[in-house]
């Protein structure tokens, strides 16, 4: 299992992501954004969190034109598995690989805390180790995590079971920390090969550090 992790100027979660996947037994490689190719043995490509290009213009907007993104779009087009975490989610929506967009949080504050999430659809490799309705505790750390999609788009997400996770309290009752449409924390594409979420599963790998609920999430990719 080979996990390739993208690194843009301003990415800051690449080493956490690398550590998380290596703890789970994967081999990893960090690829600088100037590379025009990605390793041919890649099984999963991760666009890690951070602040690519200082979030200039819009979060993720400049990163989508980095040389490596052509290879990413080509890889995704062939059915390659892609995971975008936080800024990575923003990059994937900007690149058109995932539907919707991420806006400034409604409260205008940067939010950094653990937050509960409910698994909405587990018929995909990302969440297959969890059950629908399971509540996980995963850190969020974002300023632009307010997911937006229009009504028609939302209906399509619902119909195709593309909504992965919603923000909730510990009992699974819906909450909304940032104003996201329908409290959405993560979505996937129609084909269920490209995944994006604002919370950071790679930061929830050890119970001694608050939660190890991220393990089951990331393990899903390793099983496939």
């Amino acid at each position: 299992m080979k996990v390739t992790i993208l690194q843009f100027p301003g990415t800051n979660c690449e080493y956490d992501t690398q550590h998380a996947f290596e703890e789970l037994g994967a081999t990893t490689e960090i690829v600088w954004h100037k590379s025009e190719t990605i390793p041919s043995d890649t099984n999963l490509l991760v666009v890690a969190g951070g602040f690519s290009y200082g979030d200039y213009l819009r979060s993720g907007a400049i990163a989508k034109f980095s040389p490596v993104m052509k290879a990413v779009i080509e890889y995704a087009g062939k059915g390659g598995k892609v995971l975008g975490i936080c800024n990575g989610f923003q990059v994937l929506t900007e690149a058109g690989l995932l539907p919707g967009a991420l806006k400034r949080n409604d409260g205008l504050h940067f939010i950094s805390k653990h937050h509960h999430l409910k698994v909405e659809n587990n018929d995909n490799i990302f969440l297959e180790k969890l059950n629908n309705g399971d509540v996980v505790n995963i850190p969020i750390a974002h300023h632009d995590g307010n997911y937006f999609i229009d009504e028609a788009g939302l209906a399509e997400l619902e119909e195709n079971k593309q909504i992965l996770l919603r923000y909730t309290d510990s009992e699974g009752t819906t909450q909304n920390p940032n104003g996201s449409v329908s409290s959405i924390a993560g979505v996937c594409n129609k084909e269920k090969t490209v995944f994006g979420l604002m919370p950071h599963p790679e930061r929830a790998m050890e119970s001694i550090l608050g939660s190890d609920d991220g393990v089951k999430m990331l393990q899903g990719f390793l099983a496939s």
Binding site: L57, A61, F65, A101, K103, N105, G107, N146, F148, G179
Partner: protein, 80 residues
């Protein structure tokens, strides 16, 4: 030379939280009679061409590809 002024703002119907916060601030400063506040960004481009039609086509392409995210934003282009 042509100057293109591009104004990018959130679409009508997409909540503008910054605009809302500024509206509250104006209220608390007793600036009454403000019914709405929307915040956007202005991008000013200096283009080599003198041909306004060419400039408009080019800037529209820029807006669609990068300057605006048309999922949530509208843009207006003014050429000088």
């Amino acid at each position: 030379m042509t100057t293109a002024i591009v104004n990018v703002s959130l679409k009508a119907g997409v909540l503008d939280s910054q605009g809302k916060a500024v509206h509250h601030a104006l209220d608390s400063l007793h600036f009454d009679g403000v019914s709405d506040v929307r915040i956007g960004k202005q991008i000013v481009l200096q283009l080599d061409t003198d041909d306004k039609t060419v400039a408009m086509t080019e800037v529209e392409k820029m807006c669609e590809e990068i300057l605006a995210n048309t999922v949530i934003e509208d843009y207006k282009i003014e050429l000088i």
